[in-house]
Each structure stands twice: as structure tokens, then as C-alpha cells.
């Protein structure tokens, strides 16, 4: 083989990797390596999600740092022959950088990664999540060993000084939370990891749990020691079977290595964790509903005005933190509070992981320092909007957040700035929308979600959001009336003020922000009965362009309503009365002969 002694091959896995077909390519590559007797010289492993989901199946080779993208099983022969045996790169498998428009050989030259600070996600690219040794070799459990030599007060002090704020959405100072739990009366104390990640479009927590489960585990163990807990839970949504599997394996391995269980590393401190699977209820991401669910009850939030750190799970002092919050702990213990607080802004320290998805070229998981501008994320990292379409809005904070327009793109991404603009940091989902997305439809989408996920306990959330959804549905069908916008605003404010929990309390946010920033769109739907983005079915028509249609008959064959007339090689036509506006004809036409008016 070329002048390199050993080659490490890192295959990007995780749910997104598997979904794109990574497994078959991985197995084919392994097989080909075996066939060529290269097992001694090549170390190949499946890592977690390496973050650039748009390129998957993707693989990186070290020490050369070569990156190949969009692989299929048929590529592996060439990879082995050219790259492993001859030391050459396979041009066609290289990624064409969106910024430089050049083929990129090295990972270091990929623009997507340049503005990122991958403190938490780094290991997702290099370790086998099923091997604890990989984690240990990369510095894993050093923080735990260090922490066990400190006092609980010292640990809490470091976390306080670091400025770490909860990464689940609320942004509560983590050190302060731990301190309250430590001081609270009541035994036993509990540590919980909220891995419910219900925000649609968010998969950061999933990727951390799949790709680097020990980082989360180590953080929880350190906290348990600091707070004085012997029992922890991780509540994972059941839609994440791979994350559950990897975390289970991590628990077993940690126990075997005395990082978890009785008398951890020979000390008096004992702590263990139980995995609880969610049941498919977004409301269980809310702290008191999550605890009810762990206790084997329905996920109904509690009316009690008492902090979980005083009376939480089973009415005992409880620390509940998000996956990303836990993953930050070992880094802070190892590198110090000063190191952590040197990243980010004055009130928002450290890095944040976002899932950058939707109408964006470079879909994936990104990790950036707090304070970076939205514009930088969308254009410098995200590569802008596909098909040269115009950017319209970016949604942050999930169903509790809001849609921010173009004029907000220079906002720094931090807790306060996003909240001031009407949105929120949330758990890290960042969904980009373009000119073809109707903002009334976006508001309707989120309220439909709320209605679907509301536990139904309190009047304002259960009934109020239903009425709001009905109004939005009317507006999108051309039945909106003068005064509807003001009514939506008024109801939004009342629902926010009167709901029992944060689900209802924040459900109107997407409506309020879309009205705030896209009022003209609402007005167009109401006054002119027009949908500017041409998405609202009742307000659009599909039309076949006579001068473009060549009679290929494809739309006729695919129309489920048989609403298209026309003979092969002759211009076709749509029978409007039969047309249900499903859009299949528009999608299948290869000649752009179907237009939306």
C-alpha cells in the first residue's frame, strides 16, 4: 500500500446514515477490504452521525483526511483499488464544495465545517459508539476521575462559573439548578436526562446518544456525585430505537468498568441509571409530565407551583437536564469554567448544536459558538437555499418558537436575542423556509401539531388552540374574515397567559410571529383570497400550459382522480371540478408544463 502504515476509515452512521443506505455500503466496503487482505492495515468503523447529513452515505479516511460522499455499494471496489492500494483519490466521489465550487479532497477544506466549533460533536466523527475503549482513549471518563477527587461544592461552583445554561429550551442556569437540588431536603435525590426530543425537525440529542452515549452518561454521573443522588433515569422517546440500543450498551460497559453502579471507581459513591422509553407524546418533554410518565402515569403536567429541585420525581429533589447539557459537563470539568465561558456571548456561553433542515442545501447537524449570526448559519454553513429560491423564514424553537424573516438574519443566535425577536432557542431545531412556503400554512401546521399533542387537561390549550386552528383553516381556504388576525392575536395572548404548562403557554408563538413578520400574507388570504406562496390548495389551481405540453401522457397515468383529459401526443387538460389539487401532475411532469396559479 502507499506510504501510509495504517489507514483509519470512519463511516458516518446513526439513524440518518442508516436511512440513507450507509449500512449496505459499510458492509460492502468491509467485505472488499477482507477480500484484498487489508484487514491488518485498515481499521474501519461505523461512527455516529458526522454532521453533514446531506452528503450521506459519507466516509472519511485518516490520516489523509479524504472525504467521499453519496456512496453506493458499487463504489467500494474502486475505493479499495484506488485509495487504499494505490493512494489515489477517486475524483467522482469527492464532494464539490458549495462555496468554492471546487472538488474538495480534505475534510479540513469543507466549508460546511469551517465556522463550526465541534466540541460536543467531534467524537461523533471518530469513535465507535459501541466501544467504550474508543471513548476512554479520546479522554473519556477523565472528567469523572477528576470530579471524584473534588468536593461536590467545588464541582457545582465550576458549573456555575462556566455559565452553562440548559440546552433543552428554557436556558436555566445549570449550576444554579444543581445547587438548589443539593440544598433541598429529601432523599433519595434523582438525576434525569430528558431525551424526549419531541421538536419535529430536531435530531441533535438523537445523534449524541447514538454517536457518543458515554459523553452524556459521564455528565450525569458527575452531577449525581455533586448533588448527592444514587438513582438516575434517562427518558428516551420510543421513536429512537438506535439511541436506546446504544445507550443501553453504554450503561453495561460503564458498569463493567466501574464508572457506574456500586462503589464507582472504588469510592463510596454509588449511582445507576434506568432507561425509560417514551410512549409517543410530545407533552412528555415538559418536566412535570416527563416525571409523571416515568412514574407510570399519563403525561399530564402538574399544577403544582413548586420547583422540581425541591419536589420532583416521586416528590423528591430532582435535577432534570437535556442531553446536550449533560454532554457539556465532562468538557467543562476537563477544560475548566474559564474555557467554556470564553466561548459565546456574555449571557449565552459555550456552543450550541442545531439541526439545520428544511429548504437548505447543506442539511445536517451543526455546532456553533453562541452569538454567531443566523445569516452565517444559513449561508456560510448551510449553503443557502436550493434551486436558487429566495429565503423566506427560519423557524427556531420548535412548536414553542417562532419564524424569523430575512430582516432578522443578522441577529446573534443566543437565548435573549431569539426571545426578544419573538422566537426562542429551544432544543436546537432550525428549519429553513423559502418563497414557496406559505406562512399561514406554517402557522396551521404548528397548531395542528399542538392539537395533536395537547394532553387536553386545561381549557385554554385544549379548546383555545382548536378554535385558533379552525380560524387558520378558514383563512387558508379563503373563508377568512376581517378581524380574524386581531382575533388570533388576542386569543394567542390569552392562551399564553392562562395555560397550565409551557406547551399551551407557547403554542401560539408560531402564530404570533408569522402575524408579526408576515401580516401581509395573512391579509392577502383574507382580503384577496390569494395565497402568495401558492401553497393553499383552496386558493390555487393547477393548469396545463398549452404551449409547453407535449402530450407525454405521464400526468394522465398518475392522476389518482382521473381528472386529466388528453390523448397521447396531444395537449392535455385538467378538469378543475374533479381536481383535488394533490399536485401529483405537477411533480411528475418532466417538462414543466403544469403550473400553479
Amino acid at each position: 500500500m502507499n506510504n501510509v502504515d495504517k489507514i483509519d476509515i470512519y463511516f458516518s452512521g446513526g439513524t440518518c446514515g442508516f436511512a440513507s443506505g450507509a449500512e449496505s455500503v459499510f458492509l460492502a466496503l468491509k467485505d472488499e477490504i477482507k477480500k484484498n487482505n487489508l484487514e491488518q492495515k485498515v481499521n474501519i468503523l461505523m461512527t455516529g452521525c458526522q454532521g453533514f447529513c446531506a452528503l450521506e452515505p459519507l466516509v472519511t479516511f485518516y490520516p489523509q483526511k479524504i472525504l467521499y460522499a453519496h456512496l453506493v455499494p458499487e463504489d467500494v471496489k474502486e475505493i479499495v483499488q484506488e485509495t487504499l492500494l494505490k493512494g489515489k483519490t477517486v475524483e467522482r466521489l469527492l464532494y464539490t464544495d458549495f462555496l468554492t465550487k471546487q472538488k474538495v479532497i480534505s475534510v479540513d477544506d469543507v466549508s460546511y465545517y469551517k465556522k463550526q466549533v465541534r466540541n460536543l460533536l467531534k467524537n461523533n466523527s471518530f469513535i465507535d459508539p459501541l466501544k467504550i475503549d474508543d471513548y476512554i482513549v479520546s479522554g473519556g471518563y477523565k472528567a469523572l476521575k477528576k470530579a471524584l477527587k473534588m468536593t461536590p461544592e467545588e464541582i457545582i461552583d465550576i458549573i456555575k462559573k462556566s455559565g452553562l445554561r440548559g440546552r433543552g429550551g428554557a436556558g436555566f442556569p445549570t449550576g444554579k439548578k444543581w445547587e438548589s437540588a443539593k440544598k433541598a431536603e429529601g432523599e433519595p435525590k434523582y438525576i434525569i436526562c430528558n431525551a424526549d426530543e419531541g421538536d419535529p425537525g430536531a435530531f441533535m440529542d438523537m445523534s449524541l446518544l447514538e454517536g457518543n452515549p458515554h459523553s452524556v452518561l459521564e455528565g450525569m454521573i458527575i452531577s449525581a456525585y455533586a448533588v448527592g443522588s444514587n438513582q438516575g433515569y434517562i427518558y428516551v422517546r420510543n421513536e429512537y430505537p438506535l439511541a436506546i440500543k446504544h445507550f443501553s450498551i453504554a450503561l453495561e460497559q460503564a458498569r463493567k468498568n466501574s464508572f457506574l453502579g456500586k462503589n464507582i471507581l472504588g469510592t463510596d459513591f454509588s449511582f445507576d441509571i434506568k432507561i425509560i422509553r417514551g410512549g409517543g407524546a410530545f407533552v412528555c418533554g415538559e418536566s412535570s409530565a416527563l416525571r409523571a410518565s416515568i412514574e407510570g402515569k399519563i403525561g399530564e403536567p402538574s399544577v403544582k407551583y413548586i420547583h422540581a429541585t425541591d419536589k420532583g420525581l416521586y416528590d423528591k429533589p430532582t435535577v432534570l437536564n437535556n442531553v446536550k447539557t449533560w454532554a457539556n459537563i465532562p468538557l467543562i470539568i476537563n477544560n475548566g469554567a474559564k474555557w467554556f465561558s470564553s466561548i459565546g456571548t456574555e449571557n449565552s456561553k459555550g456552543t450550541m448544536i442545531f439541526s439545520l433542515v428544511g429548504k437548505i442545501n447543506n442539511t445536517g447537524l451543526i455546532e456553533v459558538p453562541m452569538g454567531i449570526k443566523l445569516r452565517e448559519i444559513i449561508y456560510d454553513i448551510g449553503g443557502g437555499i436550493p434551486g436558487n429560491k429566495k429565503f423566506k423564514a427560519v423557524q427556531t424553537g420548535g412548536p414553542s418558537g417562532g419564524c424569523l424573516p430575512e430582516r432578522c438574519l443578522d441577529l446573534p443566535v443566543d437565548y435573549e436575542s431569539l426571545t426578544k425577536a419573538g422566537s426562542m432557542m429551544g432544543s436546537g431545531g432550525m428549519i429553513v423556509m423559502d418563497e414557496d412556503n406559505c406562512m399561514v400554512q406554517v402557522a396551521k401546521y404548528f397548531l395542528t401539531f399542538t392539537q395533536d399533542e395537547s394532553c387536553g387537561k386545561c381549557t385554554p390549550c385544549r379548546e383555545g388552540t382548536k378554535i385558533m386552528l379552525d380560524i387558520l383553516t378558514d383563512i387558508s381556504c379563503g373563508k377568512g374574515k376581517e378581524g380574524d388576525i386581531e382575533l388570533l392575536e388576542e386569543m394567542s395572548n390569552l392562551i399564553e397567559d392562562t395555560s397550565l404548562c409551557a406547551l399551551g403557554g407557547s403554542a401560539p408563538n408560531p402564530v404570533l410571529t408569522t402575524i408579526r413578520y408576515f401580516r401581509d400574507e395573512y391579509e392577502s388570504h383574507i382580503k384577496e383570497k390569494k395565497c402568495p406562496a401558492r401553497e393553499c390548495k383552496a386558493l390555487i389551481r393547477y393548469k396545463i400550459l398549452e404551449d409547453v405540453c407535449n402530450g407525454c401522457h405521464l400526468c394522465f397515468k398518475n392522476c389518482p382522480q382521473k381528472a386529466i383529459t388528453g390523448e397521447p401526443k396531444k395537449v392535455h387538460d385538467i378538469i378543475q371540478d374533479k381536481c383535488t389539487k394533490c399536485g401529483i401532475c405537477f411533480d411528475v411532469c418532466k417538462f414543466d408544463a403544469v403550473s400553479v396559479v
Binding site: T15, C16, C53, P200, G201, C582
Partner: protein, 150 residues
């Protein structure tokens, strides 16, 4: 109580904390939760039947009706939504002639939606029996379904 049910229930300590796990395992085994199974769980865990029934109807993970041979799942997460997820869902409803949440009369397909599977780069996403069909377009749907009709 059948042996299968007994075995599954015996996997867990009879604490209320384990009830969701038991129900999930039973739902996975039998494809749904029957009245008998819920009564078994109620008596074995010493939890009132009304509470078990509450759990079975509150959480989306459970079904009280048997499902079809193939589960067609459409992701309705925000990222898939902005990329045309609802269109795919509607088209599936038209092609299968059922509404989301229902099963075809021949018990072949159950159509369901889920609020985000975490594979947003592949949106719009359709998953059949655990197999991911990413970036699915209108033209592809019928073809993909044909495979399962065999």
C-alpha cells in the same frame, strides 16, 4: 393469560414505573393491545384497569386495534413538512383509499403519520416496515407500494 403474555410481563419488576415498557413490549409482540392483555397487565401489576386503559389510549405508541401487515409511516416533522410531507401523506391516502390512522380493508396496509423520525436530510420521508424511503416523490410512491403488494 397466554404464555406469551406471561413471559413478557415477567420481564419486568411489577412496579408502576415499568408499566410503559411492558405495554410497549406487548404492543410490539401482538401488533396491538387487546382488552384481555390490558386486563392481564392490570391484575399482574395491581393497577386499576381504568388507569391501564388511560395509558393505552393516551400514548400514541399503543394501538387498541390490530394493524395491517405493512405499516406505512409518513414523517410530518417540520423539515419534512416544508419539503412537501403533507402532499405525500395525501397522495398515500388517495392511492390506498384510507385516511391516516386507518387500515386497508384487506389488512395489507396501515397508514400512519409520525412527528419526526430524525432523518431530516432525507425529507420528505416515508418508512415502510422500518425501511426508509427518503426524498420520496409522487412518482415513486405507487412503485414502492407495488413491492409490498406482492
Amino acid at each position: 393469560m397466554t404464555d406469551k403474555v406471561k413471559n413478557i410481563i415477567s420481564r419486568y419488576e411489577k412496579k408502576q414505573e415499568n408499566i410503559l415498557s411492558v405495554l410497549e413490549d406487548l404492543n410490539a409482540e401482538f401488533n396491538y393491545l387487546s382488552e384481555d392483555v390490558l386486563r392481564n397487565v392490570s391484575s399482574e401489576f395491581n393497577l386499576p384497569l381504568s388507569k391501564v386503559f388511560s395509558l393505552a389510549t393516551f400514548y400514541k405508541a399503543f394501538s387498541l386495534k390490530p394493524k395491517g401487515k405493512h405499516i406505512v409511516l409518513v414523517c410530518m416533522g417540520t423539515a419534512c413538512h416544508v419539503r412537501g410531507g403533507p402532499k405525500i401523506s395525501e397522495q398515500l391516502e388517495q392511492i390506498l383509499n384510507i385516511k391516516s390512522g386507518e387500515t386497508t380493508p384487506d389488512n395489507l396496509f396501515t397508514l400512519e403519520t409520525v412527528n419526526c423520525l430524525g432523518a431530516c436530510a432525507l425529507g420528505p420521508l416515508m418508512v415502510i416496515d422500518g425501511k426508509y424511503h427518503g426524498k420520496v416523490t409522487s412518482g415513486k410512491i405507487s412503485k414502492i407500494l407495488k413491492e409490498y403488494k406482492k
